[in-house]
Symmetry: C2
Subunit: 330 residues, 2 copies
């Protein structure tokens, strides 16, 4: 029996039933007993390791956060235009599932975690970075450095559990000087509009107790051997990308130069509600995406679909993320 | 310091060094000691679970096979045109890394493995299906059904280890009647051209010892509750797709209606060297891709980049696979 498209359209709940019409089951031995393995009901671990020269990079899926999509998400686009792009990508048009991917970098001399996800400060669909590490046999105590791109909660909160304990007890926390200056300023926090007070309080919760131990770095500095901080400001005042280089190869972790690239690489001028200096964020986004497309530099995003890494192709008036091929060969 | 594109171009082996020019390292405490965790040197497990109604589907990465790319791979295209598509996708143009993804389907009543990869009959970069299962706590002895799409070695050989033992000792092996009729015919095997004899011998190695136990099915038949065999012939005489349906949702496992969709969804008329009846394979490819694009049916391929599942968008004169968003939420 050939499959014709109309069979699918008319099949309703049972394509199998439609295809089976008039055909008696022939395989009586395969019935409805309980499977030898029960339904799992849980996602599989989600980690993806690849190399940059001699450096090992492992993408870790912290999870997703879902939010209703409304007109506020993209400040300068019609909701229907946003929904059209989502639909073209076979995604829901009423809900955004924003993905979070942290990055484990083993330079050979340091085990570095770039951004932290939520740990237990988020919801049931995120905070999985520690579980992903453990699935690889890595304990949080083995992390040497926690490297922060900026101080938004989805990048920062996972550094300290809800009970106040540091999640990576032996790690040196490193943060961009310009980000520190903005968020840790008590006068600015006191003067912040109500809508911003929670964000300030979240930053202070994580960083204040060990403020003297946090190492602050400047753009252009090689913060760990092989990892250089790069000005990517606009999204936040100190928003930082990291160029990870070894053996003539470079991966750039670009954090939030886009929220999902499906929307914001495609339309670099679209302004996501989270960009604090939207003009500067647009300029940074276009500059780095153009560099990546022209020079074929591999990028890792924080908000692309897992494993959230690949190359940038020019497409129309914007760009498209072409995911890295998952070879499973190091 | 701002990142300019020319910094990257002139950086050679060390983007970090270029960005650091004139800047003294400020973070003396982070030096070159051995990382607390050694370099792993191994890929991470690669599994991806999602649901189709109440059915759990888990993609398992058997691995890749690499082969030099030459003009024989696509029979009816210029090598330079093939290389151009690979380059646009940021892939090597002299080597093909062909990916293999098997599919574990838990219907709730049966644990079904669709296609088997290589087990220990391939090379060092494949044969990982059992390891992927074990990473999820599933033993090969728990598999109830091994369901074969067709009898090419990369789909079949993993059913029986090199030492002759069945890899899934408690599984019922199910195979397409039309595939069985072609490959298990001793007279056809004896008359086969030399170039085909190895393929026949490989099929006989796996299936002959337990020939009486192999269940043969016809197209249109519901082979396991929720899984229906669909005619996808052309690639081989009995090449079969499987429609996996539950709760009004359908996923179609399309096996080798394309080799990599990067080349053959984009150019459905291109003929890969492995298509045994190329005219029929092209017609099948176009029919199923058109159905998927029109009706938004999710497809799982065997040779797409892991996790090898997503939706089909029309693009130019062909199609493009849009990978399913990896939400990690079941």
């Amino acid at each position: 029996m050939a499959l014709h498209r109309r069979n699918i359209l008319t099949a309703g709940a049972g394509l199998g039933a439609a295809l089976m019409a008039g055909t008696a089951p022939l395989l009586g031995s395969v019935g409805a007993a309980q499977a030898a393995a029960p339904l799992a009901g849980t996602p599989t671990p989600a980690t993806f390791r690849f190399k940059v020269g001699t450096i090992e990079v492992t993408a870790l899926h912290d999870g997703i956060g879902s939010r209703p999509l409304d007109a506020s998400f993209v400040r300068n686009a019609d909701l229907k235009d946003v929904q059209a792009v989502l639909a073209e990508n076979f995604l829901p048009t009423d809900t955004l599932n924003i993905s979070f991917t942290t990055l484990l970098v083993n330079t050979g001399s340091k085990l570095v975690l770039i951004d932290t996800g939520f740990n237990d400060n988020g919801g049931p669909t995120n905070g999985r970075t520690v579980a992903q590490l453990k699935s690889l046999g890595i304990e949080p105590s083995q992390i040497d450095v926690v490297l922060l791109s900026h101080f938004h909660g989805d990048h920062l909160q996972g550094a300290r559990a809800k009970d106040g304990k540091l999640v990576y007890p032996n790690a040196e926390i490193m943060a961009p000087e310009n980000e520190w200056g903005f968020w840790m300023d008590d006068a600015r926090m006191a003067a912040a509009p109500d809508a911003m007070k929670g964000a300030f309080a979240g930053v202070h919760r994580v960083l204040k107790p060990n403020a003297n131990d946090v190492k602050r770095f400047k753009w252009g500095q090689e913060v760990v051997t092989g990892i250089t901080a790069v000005d990517a400001s606009g999204h936040t005042p100190g928003h930082t990308a990291f160029a990870i280089s070894s053996g003539g190869k470079t991966l750039m972790y670009v954090a939030d130069i886009t929220n999902t690239p499906i929307l914001f690489a495609r339309n670099p001028e679209w302004r996501v509600m989270f960009d604090m200096d939207a003009d500067k964020a647009v300029a940074t986004r276009k500059r780095i995406l153009d560099m990546a497309a022209t020079d074929k530099i591999q990028l890792s995003f924080y908000h692309a679909n897992f494993p959230s890494t690949g190359f940038i192709a020019k497409e129309g008036s914007g760009y498209r993320l072409v995911p890295m091929a998952w070879t499973g060969v190091l």
